[in-house]
């Protein structure tokens, strides 16, 4: 019959779709004992770092337990990645740009609120800082933060509302002035003048790099130290110079195991081992080779040549916790909104 036939067709299609659902759902079942899979949800610039770390950890884990571990990677803006985990992306571990994003995950009860006490050094196996990248020969003579507010200097930095890296940049500039003058009012005026010189606010750190390097816009790029080294490696050392300002911020990108997800996947042991491994000398070497500052003092000394001596202040020194910093500066109505208002 006519209707019966067309109903049958639609049922077949519906079944097809739902069989698709179940096939994918089936991946969620715990893996065979010999194999284990982890999902590391991370922020943008760490792709190269974790590619090396994953290979290294996989061979370490195989030797230690006889288990083959596959680590899947997901990268994107730090806030976006945190939101994906909150909404159900089943990360076993997160390695994000700032503690505030992991706090937000903790708020939705996926991991303990005191997660930052679980691993050494505030759960940050490496640190980094904020430096400047200029065009070869430094034609505008950029040396320090004050040079960025001079008229005619065009500054590239991403949007602090959408980029974790940009928040470190913003706080670095603010902190420099506040330490110099001891006045938050002057710091605010300084940052306002700086953002007057910003012609474009990309949504992420990588976007800003492309604007600066590929599109030839801007005289100076404010970015992560590791990103600055990568830029020289990727685009040629003859095109860009790195300028280390005398004072900058100590950026601490933290890592954490997501309790709820490792419980569900039965991967707690390997996930914890993975993060602890990041503190091992072997992993710290890889960290240093990728231009992140290792926590291990001996290895930091070994690679001292690539890490210029910058006076680094911490977030806690000037801004309190990340929750406080976020609220004061980047939430709606915060200082960033105030300084960009016309």
């Amino acid at each position: 019959m006519n209707i019966a036939q067309s109903v049958k067709l639609k049922l077949t299609l519906a079944l097809l779709l739902f069989s698709g659902f179940h096939a994918t759902g089936a991946h969620a079942t715990p893996p065979a004992p010999g194999n284990v899979t982890l999902l590391n949800v991370s922020y943008d610039p760490t792709r190269e770092l974790y590619q090396s770390e994953n290979t290294s950890f996989a061979s370490y884990w195989l030797k230690k337990t006889g288990q083959t571990v596959t680590i899947n990677q997901s990268h994107g803006g730090s806030g976006k990645q945190a939101r994906a985990v909150i909404d159900g992306l089943e990360a076993d571990v997160v390695t994000l740009a700032l503690a505030y994003d992991i706090d937000a995950i903790a708020d939705s009860k996926l991991l303990d609120l005191n997660w930052q006490q679980r691993l050494p050094q505030n759960s940050t196996p490496y640190t980094s800082t904020v430096v400047f990248v200029v065009r070869k020969g430094n034609p505008k003579g950029i040396r320090n933060w004050d040079d960025l507010v001079k008229p005619g200097v065009s500054v590239i930095t991403p949007n602090p509302k959408t980029s974790g890296g940009a928040r470190w940049n913003y706080l670095a500039a603010w902190g420099y002035k506040q330490k110099q003058t001891g006045s938050a009012v002057q710091a605010k005026a300084f940052v306002k003048a700086l953002f007057k010189n910003v012609p474009v606010l990309d949504t992420g750190a990588r976007g800003s790099t492309l604007t600066f390097t590929q599109r030839g816009i801007g005289d100076v790029l404010i970015t992560w130290e590791n990103e600055a080294h990568l830029i020289r490696k990727e685009f040629g050392e003859d095109k860009f110079d790195i300028i280390a300002p005398p004072v900058s911020i100590l950026a601490e990108p933290p890592v954490a195991v997501i309790d709820k997800n490792v419980g569900k996947h039965g991967t707690r042991k390997v996930a914890e081992a993975y993060l602890t491994f990041l503190y091992s000398p072997e992993a710290q070497e890889i960290i240093a080779r990728n231009s992140y500052r290792p926590r291990n003092a001996a290895i930091l000394k070994k690679y001292a040549a690539s890490f210029p001596n910058i006076r680094l202040f911490t977030l806690g020194e000037l801004f309190g916790t990340w929750r406080q910093a976020q609220k004061a500066h980047f939430s709606d109505g915060g200082t960033f909104d105030q300084i960009t208002a016309p």
Binding site: M1, N2, I3, Q5, S6, L9, K10, L13, L16, L17, G20, F21, H22, T24, G25, H27, A28, T29, L39, V41, D44, R47, E48, N72, Q73, S74, H75, G76, A84, I86, D87, G88, L89, E90, S108, G204, R206, G207, L210, L230, E234, F235
Partner: protein, 292 residues
Amino acid sequence: MPTPVTQEQRNIQKTGKNDPIPVQVLLILLTFAFFASFVFMPLALVFSQALGKGWQLYIDSIREPFAIAALKLTLLTAAIVVPLNAVFGVAAAWAVSKFSFRGKTLLVSLLDLPFAVSPVIAGLIFVLLLGSRTPFGSWLGEHGIRIIFSTPGIVIATLFVTFPFVARELIPLMESQGREEEEAAVTLGAKGWQMFRIVTLPNIRWGLLYGMILCMARSIGEFGAVSVVSGHIRGMTNTVPLHVEILYSEYNYTASFAVASILVFLAIFTIVAKALLEHQIQQRQPAQADLT
């Protein structure tokens, strides 16, 4: 009985030839100028970047396992989405174009709505509906059913984004055809399904095919909505457009544009296939027309 296609072509030849040659030349040149700046240039850029470091690198980038995984996922998504939306498009066009009822304007506007919804919102709504913050989403999570950040989520978001293409193509076509032919068939005793197969389907097949091609093109190219519901896991939930973006942010421009060029090829391929098919059926048409 002449087929609609040849009739249409006759119209074109007659009307087109009436316009003065200078006008024709001017308009054609303007069209080329527009295409040159808005379509050729971006395409040329894609290919010049893709081949910038030689063929070898181009081929290597395309054959890389993550690129192939992304291509498979994209094609799988299109293979599920296109038939579902095609069946829906025919049903919706039938209801809207052959019957009059209250609320038709509202219904037609709702059909168009996904065109007008920002891709960002299109992704957001499925996260709000199925994400693990919601009761339904957490229920799914407890039963090991993954939708968001997995293939079904990508399929659903793509369904939404490409939802109106077939219906939109068919509604004006079927309205302009009226209902006499179908009514005649029913009067002559044809059953519903028979009538559809013998009268309606041949009349709408070009529109249907065309709508499906658009639907396919959009489903392989969708970025914004899919980006929100994919977890960006390499080799698992990356579609081709997402993979392009990832490669680009890894400073791997050559590979990024090489993979983007696959999308361009896919688009051109489907459109050329459609043109060839159209041509072949046109040639076969007179014989069939004699039989009926």
